[in-house]
Symmetry: C2
Subunit: 189 residues, 2 copies
């Protein structure tokens, strides 16, 4: 791979995940990742603000969730709106990406810096959803709560989706998780 090959960013992501899986996140240096992608440390930091960010580079999810909530019918309740948002994530959780997502989740689970970053991304998604709900006229704390529940459902569905003993559609899992949380909220006392 020469200096001017295309998709530098994508090559860096792939190289990073491969190395993290092989030798662990902490024992992999940015220079190594860049070298494997045929690039240098300088270029790595031009594409990613951080070493952690190479595993979290897309905000596609954010846009999908926000657009789905904004575009839901006026008659949709807050829960129905976030349920529609979860359905809209199907393109991201394409079955073809499952092996990649599995490895990625394993790496993240093994390092607390990465778990921190994952929490930050999750909090950002919840904030985006809450904002979109505000745009529909849903007041707080209802909007925040609905967004938070959707975030929990998404997290839970992701955990089940990457489980090798599982071959379900992501949106089905997310729907189940959300329904389970709704039911549980009636059993709190």
């Amino acid at each position: 791979m020469g200096r001017w090959e295309p998709n530098a960013r994508h090559r860096l992501s792939l190289s990073a995940l491969e190395l993290f899986v092989q030798q662990g996140y902490e024992s992999t240096t940015v220079a190594e990742i860049a070298e494997r992608a045929g690039l240098t440390k300088s270029t790595f930091f031009r594409h990613f603000t951080d070493k952690r960010e190479v595993l979290f580079g897309s905000d596609e999810l954010s846009r999908l969730l926000s657009d789905a909530i904004t575009g839901a019918p006026d008659s949709a309740t807050p829960i129905a709106a976030v349920a529609a948002a979860l359905d809209a994530t199907a393109v991201v959780f394409d079955p073809q990406r499952r092996p990649w997502a599995q490895q990625r989740q394993l790496v993240i689970a093994g390092n607390s810096e990465l778990r921190e970053r994952e929490l930050l991304k999750g909090a950002t998604l919840a904030a985006v959803m809450a904002d979109a709900l505000h745009g529909r006229g849903v007041p707080d704390p209802t909007a925040s709560l609905a967004a938070e529940l959707a975030g929990l459902a998404l997290r839970g569905a992701l955990a089940r989706w990457v489980d090798p003993a599982n071959a379900r559609e992501f949106t089905d899992l997310a729907g189940e998780e959300l329904a389970g949380l709704r039911a549980a909220s009636l059993a709190l006392d």
Copy 2:
């Protein structure tokens, strides 16, 4: 302050917050913090694993929450148990600590590394509460949901408690937040 003064850890925390307030988190080096406390960089990292950790050094909250849930009467519902846990945090949120907490929250709000760490601590608290609920025989997702709601209430109450235009007791605020979330969960659809 000489080399063998006591309370090195506490001195480091105070020096750190003072410097962060004066000149910002990022423009403060660990060496500066240590010097102000009459110590060196080596000693700083013996007391704190991280630069960030100097603002999050205690897990008192974790123990209080866990013990309160475990010690709640058998008849207590999950919500009642976490409400008792929030009440048990009164000692941490002593009015005397409010000025300190205000400065601390401002510093954290101004830096995304610190917000990340705060999210990690919050997630840890929620996990601890969920575990304590499991110990009472509360199954998932009820336990996780109750823990998550308590976490949201705690975060909301903290935001209001440090607001200068506010002089309420922390536990009152936390109770209100939790009640508000309970009510909101009935308005989701």
